[in-house]
């Protein structure tokens, strides 16, 4: 019972591959297929895009080459079989072995070239980074939101606001479980681990709101946890910090006022004379 004949087999394979290819072509715009992160807003991410393009092309070529070889090897045919030792098989093997080594060396060279090294990976060297003029912000992950501590004791939740064209150093820590910081357009991914500081750098080169979803499973609210960065002009940033501090001050004042009022009311309800001294 030959349910799938040989042409049927080839047809099935070709149609599968074709449908997968068509699906990919249909579902991805050329920009998103070739550029890892079209929305890049940081020099480091633009370098990652370039690097990804190189390794993507190399990978696709390798995959296509290997699979064509497999298809050619496995296709049904009647052929003359070379006896061992003829046809320069040994040279061919050595050549291909060297080819594989060369591929590995090429990828290594690309990866370790200065271009790809200078992406924000948690190391202190980022291209264009000015050590004296950087904004240091502490980012604390907690279930299931982020807290941002700016210099000068201002803090906020949910959204980080940074000035444009300024190198920002984020110190990622966690108050409870491991969280995944993830803003693809600015920093890529980095883990916030309790008891350890993960320092990453970025420098936004245009204004806008950039966000990503947390990338390490952190419990039941994980799906809704977002990291969001709003890049504004320097003046707006200063205004924001000023407003933030004023808001915090106001909130604290109102808390203090409430507490004082409650204390006063409590004192009015219980006259001091009736309080018995405690042993």
């Amino acid at each position: 019972m030959a349910v799938l004949s040989r042409p049927g087999k080839i047809l099935t394979l070709c149609s599968t591959i074709a449908s997968a290819a068509v699906a990919m072509a249909f579902f991805t715009t050329p920009a998103s297929a070739l550029s890892l992160n079209p929305d890049a807003a940081s020099p480091g991410i633009e370098k990652i895009n370039t690097f990804h393009l190189i390794i993507f092309v190399v990978g696709v070529i390798a995959i296509v080459f290997v699979n064509l070889a497999i298809l050619r090897a496995a296709r049904p045919r009647h052929r003359h079989v070379h006896s061992e030792g003829t046809g320069g098989g040994r040279q061919m093997r050595v050549g291909l072995g060297l080819g594989v080594v060369a591929l590995a060396l090429f990828v290594t060279a690309t990866v370790f070239s200065s271009q790809a090294r200078e992406v924000p990976v948690g190391s202190s060297d980022v291209a264009g980074l000015n050590a004296d003029d950087r904004l240091e912000i502490k980012v604390t992950g907690q279930q299931w939101l982020w807290r941002y501590d700016y210099p000068n004791t201002a803090f906020s939740y949910h959204q980080l606001v940074v000035p444009v064209d300024t190198t920002v150093a984020l110190d990622l820590v966690s108050a409870d479980v491991v969280h995944g910081w993830n803003v693809p357009s600015l920093t890529g991914k980095a883990q916030a681990v309790p008891g350890k500081t993960n320092r990453i750098f970025f420098r936004a080169d245009r204004e806008g709101v950039f966000s990503g979803r947390a990338s390490v499973l952190s419990g039941q609210g994980y799906d809704a946890m977002e990291s969001e960065v709003k890049v504004v002009s320097t003046a707006e940033y200063e205004a924001f910090i000023k407003q933030l501090k004023a808001d915090i001050q106001e909130a604290q004042d109102s808390v203090v006022a409430t507490q004082e009022r409650e204390l006063r009311e409590a004192a009015e309800e219980t006259p001091t004379g009736e309080v018995e001294p405690q042993p």
């Binding site: 349910v3 799938l4 099935t12 599968t16 990804h52 390798a62 591929l103 990503g212 499973l217």
Partner: protein, 564 residues
């Protein structure tokens, strides 16, 4: 002619593995120290687990088919995902690999059993216990801390229910069981090879067994240590993985990823070894690059395991660790490339007859090539910091592990199926199930590569319509369903052919190693007579000598040629 007595006593009764006491079938199955019985239970359990894992994957994908789906709650999704991961890794792929090695290797080295059969039996029962424990947890609380439960999430404060304890206990039992089986196998291939079978003449799969067992002997205790620490943290208020009190949450990532990366490579090595045997048999010729293949397998095991920090590119570890892992991952291109080249060119230069095992082997190489290429890009810091923990990474791992584990597993099992059961696997059903599974895998995983590039993170129980991910996910869910149907067809073929398949001769594929000398299925003691091994292809030598003897007997006595 009929001068033999009707019932012959065993040639050497004292070496028969197992006992001669007549017991009911299930008791014999449960208490037999015979490596073949143990492995058959392991392999059957592995395919049963594959079915369960695929079922859980289908449920997970059903939840992710449409954005903001309400099919499963967050907790149920996390539980299914955790159980899926544990099932796929600990109950399907690892037992399948070790079961194949444990069945075939003693036969290939011409041994009448394993060296430490009771150890192997204990290993089997630890595995079964672990498997039952994991699924018994559905009666109370299944694990819910993810496929790899990172502390502190997996610590008592954040997951106070018993789920993580079940995960620790069941994966620990399975790992310990696999470790015992590996020790038994390691001693066996070390000490019990047939006369003349030096290492240089040992089949590729025997080398594979030695490599994989050494690897398991090294990585399994590391994982068991990590599990013990997590258990102490949870049960006895320990602080191994608590940040700030002298413990380090990152320690878990290091220890568990040594194991998971090592296990990944063990699966790749086992299945590449099996595929090499299949290619060698079906091309009817010894692989020209035998030495290259064996040393590449060893290199994959060593380099791959040492590159564990490639999974931790986003973690706060010194950047040197990341460069080191990146360099080692790229170096893996060389051994993988050499093996792929050797196998594909061997098939290419031969006049083979396409049968189930070879078809699955080629499918395995094809799918794994996609997975490995994407894994290389994932392991570089630049791309990894963008694409790790997304569905791109998920798809890459699944391409490689479905390629090696599922397709390689079916290739190996359908190759040795006649030996295991005495019957041939139905070829038409095998072909249909292959194409259904192959199409299903492509449709399920290729869109997920796109979803990962678009930035969809893994482990989340829902995604949002605003993220532009719906089309990828719907297609992937559809493909998973096709893969599941293909898996049912393939497993169903294994079950049906057991009773309905055509009876097999001892050597249906004309293989070149010693397992084909035994009956199908082999006697409990494997071999009546142990041959002297003179080359890497002892079975070929035996066939040649039989032909020679027939020629000699056919020739008149006076013209007999002297045998050199």
């Amino acid at each position: 002619m009929s001068s033999f007595p009707r019932t012959m006593p065993p040639t050497r009764p004292e070496i028969v593995t197992g006992d001669a006491v007549d017991r009911p079938g299930w008791a014999r199955l449960a208490t037999s120290p015979d490596h073949k019985v143990i492995s058959l239970i392991l392999i059957s359990a592995a395919f049963g687990s594959a079915f369960l894992a695929a079922l859980e994957l289908v449920l997970v994908r059903m939840q992710l088919a449409v954005p903001e789906n309400l099919f499963l709650s967050a907790v149920t999704f996390d539980r299914l995902l955790s159980v899926y991961g544990a099932t796929a890794i600990f109950l399907f792929i690892l037992p399948l690999c070790i079961g194949l090695l444990y069945y075939v290797t003693p036969l290939q080295i011409g041994s009448r059993g394993t060296a430490l059969p009771r150890l192997g039996q204990t290993g089997l029962w630890l595995f079964i216990l672990g498997g039952f424990l994991l699924y018994a947890s559905f009666l109370f609380t299944p694990p819910e801390a993810g496929i790899n439960p990172f502390p502190p999430l997996s610590q008592h404060i954040f997951t106070p229910n018993n789920g993580v304890d079940v995960w620790i206990a069941s994966t620990g039992l399975v790992t310990l069981g696999i470790l015992l089986l590996a020790i038994d196998l390691l001693v066996t291939v070390r000490n019990m090879r047939a006369p003349g079978m030096a290492w240089r003449r040992a089949p590729i799969f025997v080398w594979t067994a030695a490599i994989v067992c050494w690897q398991i002997v090294i990585i399994a205790p590391i994982f068991l240590a990590a599990l013990t620490m997590l258990m102490i943290d949870r049960q006895l208020d320990g602080g191994f993985f608590t940040g700030g009190v002298g413990g380090a949450p990152l320690l878990w990532q290091h220890l568990s990823y040594i194991f998971f990366t090592g296990a990944y490579m063990a699966v790749a090595v086992t299945m590449l070894g099996a595929i090499s045997e299949i290619v060698q048999t079906f091309t009817r010729r010894q692989l020209p690059g035998r030495g290259v293949i064996i040393s590449s397998l060893a290199a994959i095991a060593v380099i791959g395991t040492l590159a564990w920090t490639q999974n931790m590119i986003t973690a706060p570890i010194p950047v040197g660790f990341k460069y080191y892992a990146m360099l080692l991952s790229i170096a893996l291109i060389v051994p993988f490339g050499l093996i792929f080249y050797n196998l594909v060119s061997a098939v290419s230069n031969s006049d083979f007859h396409m049968r189930g095992p070879l078809r699955f082997a080629m499918g395995a190489l094809s799918l794994a090539s996609v997975g490995l290429a994407v894994e290389v890009s994932q392991s570089t810091i630049a791309v990894g910091s963008q694409l790790q923990q997304t569905y791109d990474a998920w798809a890459a791992t699944h391409f490689a592990l479905i390629g090696f584990g599922l397709f390689g597993g079916f290739a190996a099992v359908s190759y040795w199926y006649p030996k295991m059961t005495g019957r041939m696997l139905d070829e038409d059903r095998s072909r249909i199930s292959f194409w259904v599974m192959f199409a299903g895998t492509l449709i399920a995983l290729v869109p997920l590569l796109g979803a990962g590039v678009e930035g969809q993170v893994t482990d989340s129980y829902r995604f949002f319509a605003s993220d532009n991910l719906s089309r990828f996910n719907l297609l992937a869910s559809f493909g998973t369903l096709i893969l599941f149907i293909g898996l049912i067809l393939a497993v169903g073929n294994l079950i049906r052919s057991r009773s309905e398949g055509a009876a097999s001769t001892p050597d249906p594929w004309r293989g070149s190693s010693l397992e084909w000398l035994t009956l199908s299925p082999p006697e409990p003691h494997n071999f009546d007579v142990l041959p002297d091994v003179r080359s890497t292809q002892p079975m070929q030598d035996i066939r040649d000598s039989l032909v020679r003897r027939e020629v000699e007997e056919a020739a008149p006595a006076g013209e007999r040629q002297p045998v050199a």
